[in-house]
């Protein structure tokens, strides 16, 4: 098995809800609530769930762009949960992120060569400006943009090209892990496949590790090696990709897979229609958070919260159905 690169232990991130003149905290949004998982070197871990399930917060908290309330983040053998900001900045050289919206994630007033070179400047890599821009040129070529374009501004590029620039920026520091936060969700079908293929090629070339956050299960199935499913701040299932799509254990995962429209008119499947909406993470249901919408709900589900347990080798699920 590959080496462990990132370990998340009992991670908790709550956001305060503030009200009134004195901004008193009246409650907490439980965005990420006690989750643990591991990421191995060279793999793509797909983190999937619907809006508000905490998948983006998880990625941001790992980078400590949001400070965790509790828990531990161990990156490359080092606990980075409580280290100083300046030390964390050094660690971020190895951990980069690609954002969802290629329009708001690039500074419109910077030339793309400076956007891509900014990280190298911060981390004192290639102090010579000439060398730095040469490296930018190489990176641009790598992601499929002519190096001559480096003096241009972000608005001169299309959405797909901007996402390529975002990828070049993430690659500039030769990181070990890249968080892809819905990196292909905003793109058109024909552009999306270009970017997905590019990410795969780069992974092979640099032995990159991806934490791939997405809501689209078809994309997750294509790109991931393992899958983590989140629902309302909790992990409900972790499994190898093949395992997961062949035999999802958690009722939520089953419903999620069945709800994905398949572009094949002859493909027949049983659709599980869930009732109701996702409840608010400020006031999640007691017991299992999925129980009010679950089609296999039992008495115990509203009382006791199920723990994430290994049901088959490498296949974890948090559901009372599998209690022995």
């Amino acid at each position: 098995m590959a080496d462990l690169l990132l370990q998340v232990k009992n991670l908790v991130k709550y956001f305060p809800i503030k009200k009134g003149v004195f901004r008193k905290t009246v409650g907490w949004i439980k965005a990420v609530d006690d989750i643990s998982f591991e990421v191995y070197e060279g793999e793509t871990l797909g983190l999937v769930g619907e809006s508000g399930c905490g998948k983006t917060t998880t990625a941001l908290t790992i980078l400590r762009l949001e400070e965790p309330n509790k828990g531990q983040i161990i990156f490359d053998g080092k606990d980075i949960t409580r280290i100083k900001r300046s030390d964390m900045q050094k660690e971020r050289k190895h951990m980069q992120i690609i954002f969802q919206d290629p329009y708001s994630s690039l500074d419109p007033r910077m030339r793309i060569k400076d956007i891509i070179a900014e990280g190298m400047l911060t981390h004192n890599i290639l102090k010579n400006t000439q060398e730095r821009y040469e490296k930018v040129g190489e990176l641009l070529k790598k992601v499929g943009i002519p190096a001559e374009y480096m003096d241009r501004f972000p608005h001169e590029f299309s959405g797909g090209q901007r996402q390529r620039i975002g990828i070049a920026r993430a690659l500039a520091l030769e990181p070990k892990i890249i968080m892809c936060d819905e990196a292909v969700s905003a793109l058109d079908v024909s552009i999306r496949s270009q970017i997905i293929n590019l990410l795969k090629d780069l992974q092979e070339e640099y032995n990159l590790t991806y934490l791939f956050v997405a809501h689209d299960l078809s994309v997750i199935k294509y790109i991931s090696d393992r899958v983590v499913v989140m629902y309302l701040g909790k992990i409900v299932e972790i499994a190898d990709k093949k395992e997961f799509f062949n035999e999802p254990f958690h009722p939520y995962a089953q419903a999620l897979i069945s709800a994905v429209p398949v572009p094949n008119p002859d493909y027949k499947k049983e659709r599980i229609l869930l009732q109701g909406d996702v409840p608010s993470p400020a006031n999640p249901p007691k017991g299992c958070r999925f129980h009010p919408r679950c089609f296999k709900v039992m008495k115990i589900c509203s009382k006791i919260e199920p723990k994430l347990k290994e049901i088959k080798a490498g296949h974890f699920c948090a559901c009372h159905l599998y209690d022995k």
Partner: protein, 338 residues
């Protein structure tokens, strides 16, 4: 079977252009299709291909600088483009209703959900306020909104995304329209909610044998609900056929490209196909076939002459010069799967 079906809407050579300062944008430039009673037509394409503008043109909802400059929109045998604004107002909402992508921007934030649903009822059926409100509660109940008696007095921001879309559907269905136009109605929603909304829409339509024009970029959604599909690229329909033909025997290189470039749940894909380049700028469309710079079958002819919509068989039209080459590729088995 097709002959028995009643033709409800027929679009002929529709052209809608935008007269901007930088030049004329031919957003819709010669679109043809038909919608039969009780059928669902899917319009598929990427951003900027003109699919939404087509929908807006049917209902004549476009303002300056957009203008429909040619073609016919024959609804129940009458050309909507020739109607007066007063006549159009009687059709909109009553006979043809529309559902938009973003329910938050499509609903008015300063009116209650109940008022917005009743508005059409009061206008088209001359219902009194009380009657309309009573009917609104029924409608909200029908679209699956819990505690409709209470929700009817709430404002859009008090509802979740899925609930807002349900309220939009209630609005659209309030006068039992014979044709519903849905512009990416589920794109902003999560998959489990999307499944609920599609299920609801299709059931309601079945109830009164209504027709649907479904505009989307999601080929999965289309495979599930459409009977007939129009694939649009750069303001034109490039392929038009029934669902099975589009998914199993596509003949336009763009359709083929789309089908092979999406990751899918029903098969293992080794590598995604790529359509190189990007959607052309509508101010500077390439000459000849508009898809030619991105097409792998391109010949000199494609660069010079624009192909017409060629009839392959009844109900299957394709805009391409290289049909034999594409057909060979399709026959080889175009989906690389296991």
């Amino acid at each position: 079977m097709k002959n028995k079906k009643k033709l409800l809407l027929e679009i002929k050579d529709l052209k809608t252009h935008f007269f901007t300062e930088e030049g004329v944008v031919k957003a819709v430039d010669g679109v043809d299709f038909e919608v039969y009673q009780g059928e669902t037509l899917g319009i598929v394409g990427e951003s900027g291909c003109g699919k939404s503008v087509t929908a807006f043109s049917i209902l004549r909802l476009l303002d300056y600088p957009g203008k429909t400059v040619g073609g016919e929109v024959n609804f129940k045998g009458e050309n909507l483009l020739k109607k007066t604004e007063d006549e159009m107002r009687k059709i909109r909402g009553k006979e043809i209703a529309m559902i938009f992508q973003e329910p938050m921007t499509a609903l008015n934030p300063v009116f209650t959900v109940g008022f917005q649903v009743s508005e059409a009822l009061m206008m088209h059926f001359k219902m009194s306020k009380e009657e309309a409100k009573k009917k609104s509660v029924e409608l909200l109940k029908k679209v699956g909104i819990p505690i409709p008696e209470q929700r009817v007095n709430e404002y859009p921001h008090q509802l979740s995304g899925g609930m807002r879309q349900r309220a939009m559907i209630a609005m659209a269905m309030s006068c039992d329209p014979i044709l519903l136009i849905a512009d990416e109605p589920t794109t902003a929603l999560d998959v489990t909610i999307q499944a609920q909304i599609l299920d609801l829409m299709m059931n309601l339509l079945k109830e009164f044998n209504g027709s649907l024009i479904m505009i989307t970029h999601d080929l999965g959604v289309i495979a599930e609900i459409a009977d007939r599909i129009a694939i649009m690229y750069a303001g034109k329909v490039v392929e038009y056929a029934d669902k099975k033909t589009i998914f199993h025997h596509p003949l336009h290189p763009y359709t083929l490209g789309l089908l092979t470039s999406i990751p899918r749940l029903d098969m293992e894909m080794k590598r995604l196909n790529v359509i190189p380049g990007m959607v052309p700028n509508p101010l500077h469309f390439p000459s000849g076939c508009k898809f030619n710079p991105r097409c792998r079958f391109t010949t000199d002819r494609c660069k010079k002459e624009e192909p017409p919509l060629i009839k392959i068989e009844e109900g299957h039209l394709v805009k391409c010069w290289n049909l034999d080459k594409v057909e060979k590729e399709v026959k080889k088995g175009f989906l690389v799967g296991v």
